[in-house]
Symmetry: C2
Subunit: 220 residues, 2 copies
DNA sequence: ATCATCGTCGTGAAATTTTCCCGGCACCGG
DNA sequence: CCGGTGCCGGGAAAATTTCACGACGATGAT
């Protein structure tokens, strides 16, 4: 178990970050980086090719995002070990990632030791969550900010996503084959359920909870 | 001029990214990393202490953000050379950074050579903009999406920021000593000027243009 | 000096939206 | 069967958004 190195694949769209991982990890004996991918699709391909012991994965990537990539990797290999390493210090993301099958969630603001620790934990089968996210989770629990997805019914959530994406009430009514009146009613109900007064707060909540990502904004 | 190495300070709140920079730059002869900071305040302090030839700076950092940090550094040293290296592939940010006094703007998605190139350019006094941002700038120019800041009057912009940050119309009226009616009028006028129909589009536009940052969202 | 322009602030009134309350349907578990 | 819940929309009051308009001061050109 100890005479052969554990193999690792890095997935991050920023070359400089991969370089950083590589540099940090190669100081650690017994670890070897065998593949690098800059996106979800490439990660999938390279995983099948190289079958690494552990994947270190960023979340925000163009194309196939991190969460989706995790899902696909785990679908291909039920026992894939995937450690999420991301800038999003956000409990909602962490929950999504773990649900998708991640073995750990560490934020990029963590000190290097934390990453190394998490890598070791993940390799030995433990689930590693960085302390700040633990704290976030506890906080959001205490603050009672239940995930929007849990609070809303499927239909309501659908409308919420369209509100955030589409334009007007009428357009949504069109697409969903509803009366504009119903959409307006749902819109109102959603804000009520989520405890926000204005649409602006609604968007901010959605961003906090990862329902809407900055990448979805048509920014790129 | 060539027998002594050019000194560089790295500013990024992610240790792994600093490690990446360091690893990439030390392959380059004639460059030496002499300081690392994880935030704007620390950067300011260390700059005064070490006086590096070049600063490589991230934009999104807790506390004093990158743009503000650039402003302060340039205030202290009019000739400070600061190269922005960020994940934000966003023309609006680039414009802000350059206006604040940055000597260049490179996105983290760029290949390593681009960073090295930009470092050299910046050191020799040139302004380096990575190709994707050039493209963005051209695009946003063509698309006619003028920066909101240029389109709005000072008062309107003020109200816009408060709309994005504060809560209700009445609260803003309170703070600004205006009639709630006036705020509502401004709100309407702003949406008109920016060509958006709903508040949700307004927030999205603000995010695209960097008026509102994800970090401002109260996520942290 | 005067005029035109623009930003700012406000009013009033119409148009629209939001919100609240309601009823009808369908589905599910006891 | 009955109560609870999600889903869909109507009606009407309440709130808001929007539009037209006037007043005022600062600016700037003639």
């Amino acid at each position: 178990m100890s005479n052969t190195a554990r193999t690792i694949m890095l997935v991050d769209d920023h070359a400089v970050v991969r370089e950083g991982y590589r540099s940090m990890l190669q100081k650690q004996p017994g670890l070897r980086v065998v593949a690098e991918a800059s996106g979800g699709a490439e990660a999938y391909r390279l995983y099948k090719e190289t079958g690494p012991d552990l994947v270190i994965m960023d979340l925000s990537m163009p194309g196939i995002g991190g969460i989706e990539a995790i899902r696909r990797l785990r679908q291909w290999d039920k026992h894939a070990k995937i450690l999420v390493f991301t800038m999003h210090q956000n409990a909602a993301f962490a929950v999504q990632a773990i649900r998708a099958g991640a073995s750990g969630y560490v934020t990029k603001t963590s000190p290097p030791e934390t990453l190394v620790h998490a890598v070791m934990d993940a390799l030995s089968g433990k689930i590693a969550i960085s302390p700040d996210i633990d704290h976030e989770l506890a906080l959001s629990h205490l603050a009672g900010e239940t995930a929007a997805a849990d609070l809303l019914t499927a239909r309501e959530f659908e409308v919420l996503r369209m509100l955030l994406a589409e334009k007007t009430t009428d357009e949504i009514a069109e697409v969903l084959h509803l009366s504009p009146k119903t959409v307006a009613n749902l819109h109102s109900l959603i804000k009520d359920k989520l405890g926000v007064g204005t649409d602006i707060e609604l968007v901010r909540l959605a961003l906090r909870q990862g329902i809407l990502t900055q990448i979805d904004l048509g920014e790129r």
